[in-house]
């Protein structure tokens, strides 16, 4: 058998972002791979220290646009922890609404890109059309289709008027049928099964070893979800399930995502039903003292962790974050081993790699 080394980039892998792999092939099968990261390295850890706490809300929202709400909300949670700010209950619910809206859109984008990667163009277009319901809702409520600008230190800076809440409730109603239908398709459609079932398998032990998180972990039977394990914001008052699968293949990851999107619809509906009256933001914010804090949240791709250290000025002394894709793309080595070259784009996309988050 001949051994060959090839390099694959964004345009070969159908990725939105520049990510490069050096793949070692034996025959037409993957024997090993190296991720060549750094293309999207914008020096974020340096930049956050040169921006004050206000500016960082906007800067961090642009760490990655697919999980763009998780970053500022987790950052604000860390600042609030340092300063001992309790955010109003209404703000907790509104943060959850923003997070769940982004989760649905992000999961659907991931499923759409995979459909595209296996040449299922009509399905790709169908999922993107369904996702447009969320995109329209984001623009109608927040004024932007990607970066919501929902968070400020001490709360949120958008409100749901009764009309906006009714509109959002309508959009959620509109999402239910297509999400159920897509779940059945990804679960049972023979054409999708042929390409996705038993492909890119990550065994449970390997998943634990790689410490994968998010849908990638939950597709291997690890039911770790920050919203359940250490509830933050409004999540301790909301009812939801953590969908999981055991097969650990591409199909399982997508079923977890679609089931989660369905849970998110229910979460948003609960938020709308329970939304308490009150202020949007804590007033009389204190000065941010010197201190340090860790804040965690469940981003669409898994556990997102922020570490913040302040020195009493309004510039952070240190801001560090661990993003879910960092662990998940290490598991690609296991998933890809022995797979034919043609499956590389699908499997890479099946972990929903966020390169902007990881390279920062």
């Amino acid at each position: 058998m001949t051994t060959k080394i090839i390099e694959l980039g964004a345009h070969q892998l159908a990725l939105e972002e520049p990510m490069y792999f050096r793949v070692k092939l034996e025959g037409d099968r993957v024997a090993d791979l190296d991720v060549l990261p750094g293309q999207v390295h914008r020096g974020m850890e340096h930049l956050v220290m040169r921006r004050n706490l206000y500016q960082n809300i906007t800067l961090l929202e642009r760490l990655c646009s697919l999980c763009s709400n998780s970053h500022p909300s987790t950052f604000c949670a860390a600042v609030e922890e340092v300063a001992g700010i309790a955010i109003p209950e209404r703000a907790e619910y509104l943060r959850a609404v923003a997070d769940e809206i982004k989760r649905i859109a992000s999961h659907l984008f991931c499923c759409a890109v995979q459909a595209n990667a296996i040449g299922e163009t009509p399905l790709f277009r169908r999922i993107m059309e369904v996702r447009e319901i969320m995109q329209r809702a984001k623009e109608a409520i927040y004024g932007n289709r990607m970066d919501l600008a929902a968070n400020v230190i001490g709360g949120v800076r958008y409100d749901l008027t009764p009309e906006a809440a009714a509109y959002l409730a309508g959009a959620m109603e509109e999402m239910k049928r297509p999400l159920d239908e897509l779940y059945l398709q990804f679960g049972n459609n023979p054409a999708l099964m042929a390409r996705m079932a038993w492909v890119g398998v990550l065994p449970r032990e390997a998943a634990v070893e790689c410490a994968v998180v998010g849908p990638v972990a939950r597709a291997c039977g690890i039911d770790y979800d920050v919203r359940k394990k250490s509830p933050y914001g409004a999540y301790d008052r909301l009812k939801f399930e953590v969908p999981s699968q055991t097969a650990g293949d591409v199909r399982a990851r997508n079923l977890v995502r679609l089931a989660e999107a369905r849970q998110s619809v229910s979460l948003i509906e609960q938020c709308l039903a329970q939304l308490p009256a009150g202020p949007l933001c804590a007033d009389n914010l204190p000065e941010i003292p010197a201190g340090e804090a860790i804040a965690k949240s469940e981003a669409p791709r898994g556990e997102l962790m922020y570490y913040l250290r302040t020195d009493g000025s309004d510039f952070p002394v240190r801001l560090k974050w661990r993003v879910p894709s960092y662990m998940n793309w290490d598991a690609l080595k296991v998933m890809l081993k022995g797979e034919p070259v043609g499956n590389i784009p699908l499997i890479v996309n099946s972990i929903d790699p966020c390169i902007a988050c990881t390279d920062r």
Binding site: G9, A10, H11, E16, E17, P18, G38, Q39, V40, H41, R42, G43, M44, H46, L47, R50, R51, N52, Y54, Q55, N56, I57, T58, L59, E61, R62, L63, C64, S65, L66, S68, F109, A112, V113, F124, R125, M128, E129, E132, Q135, R136, E139, A140, Y142, G143, N144, R145, M146, D147, A149, V152, R157, C354, I355, A356, D359
Partner: protein, 300 residues
């Protein structure tokens, strides 16, 4: 061997996207213009290609990281010489929120010529289509051997059309009190204050602004507000005229005559709700004269 191929009406114009290290917002929205019927670039007679050699129009996203630079320039060089280049989002033009980073080597114009800018963070698909339309104009004009018309007056001020999209910022100098909170919270450094002889001037550059609206959120008087005007595509040559500007004139303090920025009525209303004539008098006084009037002596 070079073969002249006559362009036919049916051949689609090929779009090629280069991500130079973006947050993926613009890239995801460009994916929408390949997948969603309402925004499909096919309505403009375009189609995406994954091969740089076929590119008629190159779409560039991201602030150009140092790590991506060589690959970006290599891909760009592969595209045919008569391509039209479009900078998508504010990052390629100004660096957006990522400006001043050691890892960023923009603006992209230092490395390659840009024809059209589409400001936005990210631009909504309607704005992307408008910008791609502008690139098609340029392409057509160049093919016909004409100089493409500068500043074609096609800009419709849509107001908010169906949704209140966060568009261009608007500045009302009459309400401004020169507190500069807007500049303090702007992550992209899009706002500049200059003190001149006659007053203080604010300049906001739409090619740096990321349309987050934080300046307007923290503005105590509503001097800065978000408009629904998202149609901001323009020729790259006009990049630096895309600004919002206004001047707050100095007025003499009615007590001592020193040139001061008078308090805007909006701030008085915010502070006192219903200002009476006595309070109104405060607004044209400098801080020292104000203290003199209210507590009899200047503090300190």
């Amino acid at each position: 061997m070079h073969i002249e191929v006559e362009e036919t009406a049916v051949g689609p114009v090929r779009l090629f996207r280069i991500n130079t290290g973006s947050c993926n917002g613009c890239d995801v929205e460009l994916a929408v213009t390949s997948a969603v019927t309402e925004f499909d670039v096919e309505q403009l007679g375009c189609r995406y290609t994954e091969s740089a050699h076929e590119a008629d129009i190159v779409l560039i996203t991201g602030p150009l990281t140092i790590r991506a630079r060589d690959e970006v320039l290599r891909l760009y060089a592969q595209a045919p010489r008569d391509k039209v280049t479009v900078a998508v989002g504010v990052c390629p033009v100004s660096g957006g929120v990522f400006r001043d980073s050691y890892a960023v080597d923009g603006p992209i114009e230092r490395h390659l010529p840009v024809d059209v800018n589409i400001p936005g963070c990210p631009p909504r698909p309607q704005a992307l289509l408008a910008g791609i339309g502008a690139a098609l104009e340029i392409r057509r004009a160049r093919r016909d051997g004409e100089e493409p018309a500068r500043n074609p007056d096609h800009r419709k001020h849509h107001g908010t059309d169906n949704f209140p999209a966060r568009g261009r910022m608007s500045y009302d100098a009459k309400a401004c009190v020169d507190c500069r909170m807007c500049r303090h919270v702007c992550a992209a450094g899009a706002i500049r204050f200059e003190a001149g002889d006659g007053g203080v001037r604010l300049t906001l550059w739409h090619n740096s602004c990321v349309f987050c609206g934080l300046c307007s959120h923290y503005c105590p008087t509503g001097a800065l507000s978000v408009t629904g005007d998202w149609r901001l595509d323009h020729r790259a040559a006009d990049a630096f005229t895309q600004i919002e500007r206004g001047e707050v004139p100095y007025a003499p303090c009615t007590g001592c005559g020193e040139a001061i920025i008078p308090t805007a009525p909006q701030l008085l209303h915010a502070a006192f709700r219903r200002p009476n004539p006595e309070i109104e008098k405060l607004k044209n006084l400098c801080p020292a004269c104000r203290q003199l009037m209210s507590i009899g002596v200047p503090r300190r």
